[in-house]
């Protein structure tokens, strides 16, 4: 029996590291955290809708139909039409593409740049750390709206510029969080070992420290996804974000939707529901992910 044990143990290893292990993790997550799984499912649906918008959408989102302006929700137009006779459902479906694009791009940029700055700041410590912290403080105190106004006034409106405007304020917040995790990692023996081995700073930061702040990084990433979608909708609503003719949820709430709110409430209600549902799903998933990844919460 004593000889059999190691073999048994060895046989189990591929199960947890191989492809089946990956699937098992997903199944485990769904079983333990049903709310998170629902959130993830809605996120996946949202992404698929965004990608396949041209296949799914019942109408061209830009096609105007002056015969059916402000039409009520019906069999032909499930969610009604807007002031130009454009199909609300089709525009929501296409808007999902914009929202997902902006959400993922901002969250990725903001969290990644922030993480690199945070880890580097913790690694170099001393004066560099102090200086980086002060610069981050300045950006934290700087109002988002003024940054967005400046970016849009200088670069113009458009998806790319919106992404920049939303990602910049995320960087200092991400840097703060990763820095505090990285401070502990800096004291780890393997970082000392890497330094003793004569590796360059960049290699130690990128290869040895960054992978170890993965948990806070993923938590931030999912939290930022929802925030970015909300920020995009707000900026677009103000006219500082995505502009016509790109279909975007914030754009659908602008102007006519408020003017005709009483006569055609569907114009104002459905895009808002789309925003809420998308962000809700991201948050639901993000919360469960945080519970699963954060060791302090897991211990409970």
């Amino acid at each position: 029996m004593a000889i059999g044990r190691p073999a048994e143990a060895a046989a189990e290893i591929p199960e947890t590291t191989g492809r089946r292990g990956w699937l098992a993790v997903v199944v485990e997550f769904c079983r333990k955290r049903p709310l998170g799984a629902i959130g993830a499912a809605v996120v996946v649906v949202n992404i698929l809708v965004g990608i396949g918008a041209n296949v799914i959408a019942p109408y061209d989102p830009l096609a105007t139909d002056y015969g059916a302006m402000l039409a009520r929700p019906s069999a032909t137009h499930w969610l009604g039409t807007d002031a130009f006779g454009r199909d609300v459902l089709a525009r929501i479906i296409y808007g999902s593409r914009t929202a997902m694009l902006v959400g993922f791009a901002c969250a990725f940029l903001g969290a990644t740049i922030g993480a690199v700055i945070g880890v580097a700041s913790a690694y170099f410590a001393g004066k560099v750390d102090l200086l980086v912290q002060r610069v981050m403080d300045i950006f934290l105190a700087f109002p988002l709206i003024i940054l967005a106004l400046a970016v849009v006034s200088i670069l113009g409106t458009g998806i790319g510029n919106v992404i920049v405007a939303i990602a910049i304020p995320m960087i200092p917040r991400a840097a703060l969080v990763t820095r505090s995790s990285a401070l502990a990692i800096r004291e780890m023996p393997y970082v000392d070992a890497a330094r003793a081995a004569g590796f360059r700073h960049r290699r130690i930061i990128m290869r040895h420290m960054l992978p170890n702040v993965m948990a806070p990084y993923l938590i931030m990433l999912t939290a930022y996804l929802g925030q970015a979608i909300l920020a995009e909708a707000s900026l677009t609503f103000l006219g500082l974000g995505v502009s016509e003719p790109t279909p975007a949820w914030g754009l659908m709430l602008r102007g006519a939707a408020v003017q005709f709110a009483e006569a055609a409430p569907w114009m104002a209600i459905f895009p808002g529901l789309a925003i809420s549902l998308a962000v809700f799903a991201f948050n639901l998933f993000g919360d469960s992910l945080r519970d699963a990844l954060d060791p302090r919460l897991r211990a409970q």
């Binding site: 709310l35 300045i138 105190a141 929802g226 103000l238 709110a261 962000v279 639901l284």
Partner: protein, 317 residues
Amino acid sequence: MWKYLVKRFLLMFPTLLGVALLTFVLIRVIPGDVVELRYAGDRGAVSQDVLEKERARFGLDQPLWRQFTTWVIGVARLDFGESMWTGSPIWQEIRLRFALSLQVAIMATVVAVVLAIPLGVVAALKQDSWIDYSVRIFSIAGLATPSFWLGIVFILLLLVVFHWLPPMIYTPFWVDPWENLKQLIWPALAVGYRYSAVATRMTRSAMLEVLREDYIRTARAKGLWEKLILSRHALKNAMLPVLTVIALEFAFLIGGLVVTEQVFNLNGLGMLFVEAVGHRDYTLTQALVMLVAFVFIFVNFLVDLAYAWLDPRIRFR
């Protein structure tokens, strides 16, 4: 502790200076200036000479470093100058707008605290029950709902159900409190929902953490009255992080409500921001950014102060 506080206090100034520099540069990088915009209507009719004279009047012909130092010295003496667009003193431009934004922020805070603390505490006490799940879903939904859209929905509901619209013209509280509240309660509720969601989640997780502490078990073992354990031992210790998020959200609300203000037709600081940048009103924009940044930095300082005061581990350092 005094050393810590003094250091913490002095650290506010380099940050403010950095904000000043960033604003100063950013607003000037935006193409066009106030003089150009003012005469944009009759371009060509105005000679280059007049434009230059106007610029000289605002000091825009000076080298950038001199403009910056003049301005910063003015700010240090609390003199923000005059608006480049309207010509009236900055304080006069900001005063009413600030009062409005402050009132909405305070009302939203009241809404948030009244909702968040009981909900968060109950959710933590009944962890993983249906109450907990409902509270969590309610608060995640609060984070997901755009405040400005909630505002639109409120207006719509009032219109459809009561055939009534909140007044669209601002009445200061000291003129007619009732009229004033009728207008401002809706934006406060719309913003307060999201705000309460942030605070509820923090209350819940802080309570969960505290309830697992040894001193709670000790208190229970002593046979202390459960209500007393919750109020004196648990809630008091869980309040610090909650206080932090409430304070930071409050600081954000002062200048960050641009979209909600637009929906409710409120002339708060947020809308003033958009106007000021739109006019390239350098002095007004700079003053606004400094004001909002100062509120944020100062609230942060107060939070640290509260920590130092309430947490003996910091107090006796």
